[in-house]
Symmetry: C2
C-alpha cells in the first residue's frame, strides 16, 4: 500500500504483514487473532500498526461485544455491519441501503456531526436456530 509510504511511514516487516493479512480478510479480526496468526510479529506492533492504520482511515475499528475488531476500509466509503449470534458467536456481515439512509437522515437532522457509525444486531443465526 503506497498510502503508507505517502504518509511518511517506513516499510518494516510488521506493518506489511498486518496490512497483507487484513487485506486478504473480508471481515473483522481482533488484535489478538491477528497476533496469533502472525508469529513473527510482536503483539505491541500489532496494536500500534492497527492504531496507525485506523488514523489513516485504511482500517475500520469496531467494538463487537467488548473486544475491538479491525477490518479493511473499502475505498468508496462502502461498508457493512454485523450480526452476531449469541449462541455460537459467529459474526455475519450484511449491508442495507435503507439503514444507511436512515442514519444519513439522522446525521443531517442533528447538531451532532456524525463521521462514523456502527450497527450490531444480536440474535440467533439460522444454524443455531434449527
Amino acid at each position: 500500500m503506497g498510502a503508507l509510504r505517502d504518509a511518511g511511514f517506513r516499510s518494516g516487516g510488521a506493518r506489511r504483514r498486518v496490512v497483507e493479512l487484513l487485506g486478504s480478510e473480508g471481515c473483522a479480526l481482533s488484535a489478538l487473532e491477528i497476533d496469533r496468526r502472525l508469529d513473527e510479529v510482536g503483539r505491541a506492533s500489532v496494536y500500534r500498526v492497527l492504531e496507525q492504520l485506523e488514523e489513516l482511515g485504511l482500517v475500520r475499528r469496531l467494538d463487537i461485544e467488548g473486544i475491538a475488531g479491525y477490518e479493511r476500509a473499502e475505498p468508496g466509503g462502502e461498508h457493512h455491519h454485523h450480526m452476531v449470534c449469541a449462541r455460537c458467536g459467529k459474526v455475519i456481515p450484511f449491508e442495507d441501503e435503507r439503514l444507511e439512509r436512515a442514519i444519513g437522515a439522522i446525521s443531517r437532522g442533528s447538531s451532532f456531526d456524525v463521521s462514523e457509525h456502527e450497527v450490531v444486531l444480536r440474535g440467533t443465526c439460522s444454524r443455531c436456530a434449527s
Copy 2:
C-alpha cells in the same frame, strides 16, 4: 423491583443499590462507574448483579467504545441509541423511528433471528465543533 423476587432472588443490599442507581439514571453507566458511586458495594457484586439483571431483561448492556455500559430497559421495549463525541467522550442518547423500522425490515428479511440491536454514531458534538 418485584420482578427480582418473582425470579426467585433474595433481596440483599448490593442488588438493591445497583437497581436503585440504574433506575435513577436515564442513560448508560459503566460497571466501574457504578462501583465508584456505591462505596458499600463490592466490585464483583456490581458485575454479578448487572449480569443477572441483563439476563432478566431488566437492563440493557451496550458496548460503547470498548467498555460495557448498562442502562435500565424500558418496559415497552422502547429504547434509544447513542452518539459518542470522539473529542470529549460525551455520550448523547437519541431515538429514531425510521432507523428502528429499517432494522425491523432487515430482521424480517433475513434468516438471522434478531433479538437486539445497538447503534453507535461517532463524531463531534456541537460544543466541540464550535
